[in-house]
């Protein structure tokens, strides 16, 4: 049932990508995503594609898994691609009545599709190789400098990880409450929108009551286990920027240099 879905989709492994510091992964994911938007020649597309393919191979994650993230985006992908095909002006390729498909339109649709696929793969490479816990740790550490200006970095990270922990629990609970109220005669499927929204009150009230109760009990349990914020707290898993991260970062920088270096070469010509 719903509860069986693992959140964050982390797939255990021992690859280089798995072992990297989550901070390097977060930074490099961001950089690569920006790069995906900057590329615009077919040479750059090929290089980018090759690089992402290499990362995929290194991660040891089956391609099928990494492409799973695209499925829910398929509709958006299709719509944007179609819009591009029909509305980008240029050399006509095919003419069906008033509709003109241009060469440029087709090209930009393909490019856009490629870009979005790259984005999804890059993002899922991070979530597939990083546990939610490591991710929040990484975010916490990256926000650490902001603590001086009053950003509660530790608390934000703790909230994120608790949310991750409880999402499956609350999803199960929602399902259970809906079934119980349906058994009592609640009807979620008929009537106009207003009526349907109203019909969710019998689900939302118990869900909130229970969520607050859980929050209360969890806070108590955390206190009983000596939790008092980040002060004096150590971590089981130290995240460290290791030599591996250095090598990986250098490789990344090298790739970006090659990728965009050619542009400067061309300009200088």
């Amino acid at each position: 049932m719903i509860g069986n879905i693992t959140l964050g989709q982390y797939i255990p492994g021992e690859s280089v990508l798995h072992r990297l510091d989550p901070r390097s992964k977060i930074i490099w994911t961001a950089l690569l995503m920006v790069a995906v938007f900057i590329i615009n020649t077919w040479q750059e597309y090929v290089m980018m594609g090759a690089f992402v393919a290499i990362l995929l191979v290194i991660s040891g994650i089956p391609i099928k898994q990494s492409l799973k993230g695209i499925k829910p985006l398929m509709l958006i992908l299709a719509i944007t691609a179609i819009l591009n095909i029909f509305f980008v002006q240029g050399t006509p390729l095919v003419k069906i009545g008033p509709v003109v498909i241009s060469y440029e339109g087709l090209l930009s649709a393909i490019m856009l599709f490629f870009r979005l696929v790259m984005l999804v793969i890059v993002a899922s490479l991070m979530t597939l190789t990083t546990t939610p816990m490591a991710m929040t740790d990484g975010i916490e550490r990256m926000m650490k400098p902001l603590e001086r200006v009053g950003v509660p970095a530790h608390e934000i990270a703790m909230m994120m990880s608790i949310a991750l922990r409880f999402i499956p629990t609350l999803m199960e609970e929602t399902e259970r409450i809906m079934k119980a109220q349906a058994s009592r005669g609640a009807d979620f499927d008929t009537g106009n929108i207003l009526k349907r929204i109203k019909s969710f009150i019998p689900v939302l009230v118990p869900l909130f009551v229970s969520a607050f109760k859980r929050a209360d009990e969890l806070a108590e349990a955390m206190e009983a286990r000596c939790y008092c914020g980040s002060k004096g707290r150590t971590r089981l898993k130290q995240i460290r920027f290791t030599r591996l991260d250095l090598v990986a970062s250098l490789a990344g920088i090298l790739f970006l240099l090659i990728l965009f270096g050619t542009r400067f070469l061309m300009i200088s010509h």
């Binding site: 629990t169 005669g185 009807d187 118990p206 009551v209 108590e220 349990a221 150590t234 089981l236 130290q238």
Partner: protein, 599 residues
């Protein structure tokens, strides 16, 4: 002031402790939740605290690790006063606490990270944390689940993780606040075995708060709480010999203890209190001499019920969750079963055997993957969902969690008001239901959130009963209730069955309840129907039930053992009253037999 030497001997010491919650419902006299407790718990002791819901047990537990501070008196933990603010973390490190709901105390997304949570808070070195959590996980037998997510574990496993998380802080004392109440029998046994080992091997002081009387049997000492005070205290033997006093406090005793108590009251045995099956067996063997006398088989109660008419017909029912995905799970496989009008059918099987999946077909919450379910001529999964849900009332586990209206009245009529009945009919039904569940009319205008746990449960049940269903299905109706609360729920059910002829289906893990109340039992295992028969026939197959991870009532086991060993008792008793009858018949027969010889 207690002297230092005095404090050194005690793990926990309460001196004239009071605690009052700041808020109480308007107009109610305030009774302190803890009302003058003076009590010491020795280092290394295994103490069980019994008491009804709301007797102050949980408040007492929270006072022990400074989650609450006494409003009067003093609490010492390992020589530290809980009211001294700077000692609070040291106190919580020394005295760990396991809570009731396994879901609401695990913080992290993997077992490993969760075990590390406490030690991390203590500011230990990463290598030391690693050493401790590995040791703790091994100790509780969870080392293979280190990378798993807590929500994938069973209830018993979750509680073992919670215990390991505390062990990793190397405490001297562990308090378990009803930590077994939400578990199935298997999970409960896992937890109880674990804490007994901890107490024995590591000398950790254990304070176990529970409603399950049989868990108290192994304790060094039992405290019984009532209205914020300690009403009784002593060894399990002393406590359980005072059966009538316990009953007055709304508690019960283990089945064998109850049996020996009743036999003694009838003057049939002289032996002392029996706490375990073995003890009862010994003392009964002493009075029942082996003999060639053949005990007449217990008569099945004369079948008063008419040759029954089938009300629910389940044919080749299969259900698969998330078919075609990696999460595909066959929850039910080709189950065929007829439910008779007016019967009480028990459904047993261990967690994951398909019990809940089965009953959710009866009111169309689930649709068959294949096969069919027909309720009184209505095809389930068809169009007549509304009609079906009026016929079949389904009450989920912890139904009180679904209460949401402003008043009890509105909550009770939530489903009813959708049927378009005239107002006076609604009033009539509400009145009638209040009678059945035994709640007074004043409660109707209260908020359901103000009621006690047992009252909430009954209100939630009332919300289904007002629909006047022909078939009532209950999933673990007494989970989390204390013995008296459970009795009240079963009294309601038997009354309904008797006076209105309601067909009742009960899912339960309590074999004692099933044996006492059901006409027939359906045994499920891995989604298949394994057995379907009268309780007497089902529970006579002990070995088969065992292989399915199920048990038989303690009293049935006792009499089977005696019967097998050649003693002249009935080997198939199901309830205490049957057991008493069997013994007295045997004794009587022996008397006349003896008399005949002398003549």
């Amino acid at each position: 002031m207690a002297t230092v030497a005095d404090q050194g001997m005690h793990m926990v010491e309460f001196k004239d402790v009071y605690f009052e919650y700041g808020t109480h419902a308007a107009g109610q006299p305030s009774t302190p939740a803890v009302n003058g407790i003076t009590e010491s718990i020795r280092e290394g002791e295994f103490v069980v605290v019994l008491g009804r819901n709301g007797s102050g047990k949980s408040t007492m537990a929270r006072l022990m690790n400074a989650l609450l501070l006494p409003t009067g008196g003093t609490v010492w933990v390992d020589g530290m006063n809980t009211a001294e603010g700077d000692k609070i973390w040291e106190i919580r490190r020394t005295l760990g606490m396991v809570f009731q709901n396994p879901d609401n105390q695990l913080v992290a997304t993997t077992v490993e990270e969760d075990l590390a949570f406490g030690p991390e808070n203590l500011g230990l070195d990463p290598s030391e944390i690693r050493r401790r959590i590995d040791a703790a996980a091994r100790y509780v037998g969870m080392e293979e689940h280190m990378k798993h997510s807590p929500h994938m574990l069973s209830g018993g496993q979750k509680q073992r993780v919670a215990i390991a998380g505390i062990l990793a802080m190397e405490p001297k004392c562990i308090v378990l606040d009803e930590s077994t109440s939400m578990l199935d029998p298997r999970g409960r046994k896992e937890v109880i075995d674990l804490i007994r080992t901890l107490n024995r091997e590591k000398g950790i002081t254990i304070i176990l708060i529970t409603h399950h009387m049989e868990e108290a049997v192994h304790a060094d000492r039992v405290l019984v709480m009532d209205r914020g005070r300690i009403a009784m205290q002593g060894t399990p033997r002393e406590i359980f010999s005072r059966v009538d006093e316990l009953k007055k406090l709304g508690l019960s005793v283990p089945q064998v203890t109850q049996l020996m108590h009743e036999l003694k009251a009838k003057g049939l045995v002289q032996a002392g209190t029996a706490l375990t099956l073995e003890e009862a067996e010994e003392s009964l063997k002493a009075v029942l001499k082996k003999s060639g006398f053949h005990h007449p088989a217990l008569q099945e109660p004369a079948v008063a019920k008419e040759p029954a008419e089938v009300i629910v017909s389940i044919r080749d029912l299969s259900h698969t969750y998330m078919p075609g995905t990696t999460f595909e799970r066959k929850a039910l496989q080709e189950v065929s079963l007829d439910i008779m009008k007016g019967e009480i059918l028990g459904i047993i099987g261990h967690t994951g055997s398909g019990k809940s999946t089965l009953v959710q077909h009866l009111n169309g919450l689930l649709k068959p993957t294949s096969g069919s379910v027909t309720v009184d001529g209505l095809e389930c999964g068809g169009k007549s969902l509304k009609e079906l849900r009026q016929k079949v009332g389904l009450i989920f586990q912890y139904p009180e969690h679904q209460l949401f209206e402003e008043t009890v009245y509105k909550d009770i009529i939530f489903g009813l008001s959708r049927l378009g009945l005239p107002q006076d009919e609604i009033e009539r039904r509400v009145k009638c239901v209040l009678d059945i569940i035994g709640l007074s009319e004043e409660l109707l205008w209260k908020s359901p959130f103000e009621l006690s746990g047992g009252q909430k449960r009954r209100v939630a049940i009332a919300g289904v009963l007002v629909m006047e269903p022909e078939i009532l299905v209950l999933d673990e109706p007494t989970a989390g209730l204390d013995p008296r609360g459970s009795e009240e729920v079963f009294a309601i059910l038997t009354e309904l069955n008797r006076t209105q002829g309601t067909t009742i289906l009960i899912i339960s893990h309590s074999m004692e309840q099933i044996a006492a109340y059901c006409d027939r039992i359906a045994v499920l295992n891995r989604g298949r129907l394994e057995m379907l028969d009268t309780p007497r026939k089902v529970f006579s197959q002990e070995d088969r039930l065992r292989s399915l991870g199920l048990d038989i009532p303690e009293i049935t086991r006792l009499f089977r053992n005696l019967h097998r060993a050649g003693y002249p008792v009935n080997g198939h008793v199901l309830t205490i009253s049957e057991a008493v009858r069997s013994i007295s018949e045997t004794m009587l027969a022996k008397e006349t037999h003896k008399g005949g010889n002398n003549a």
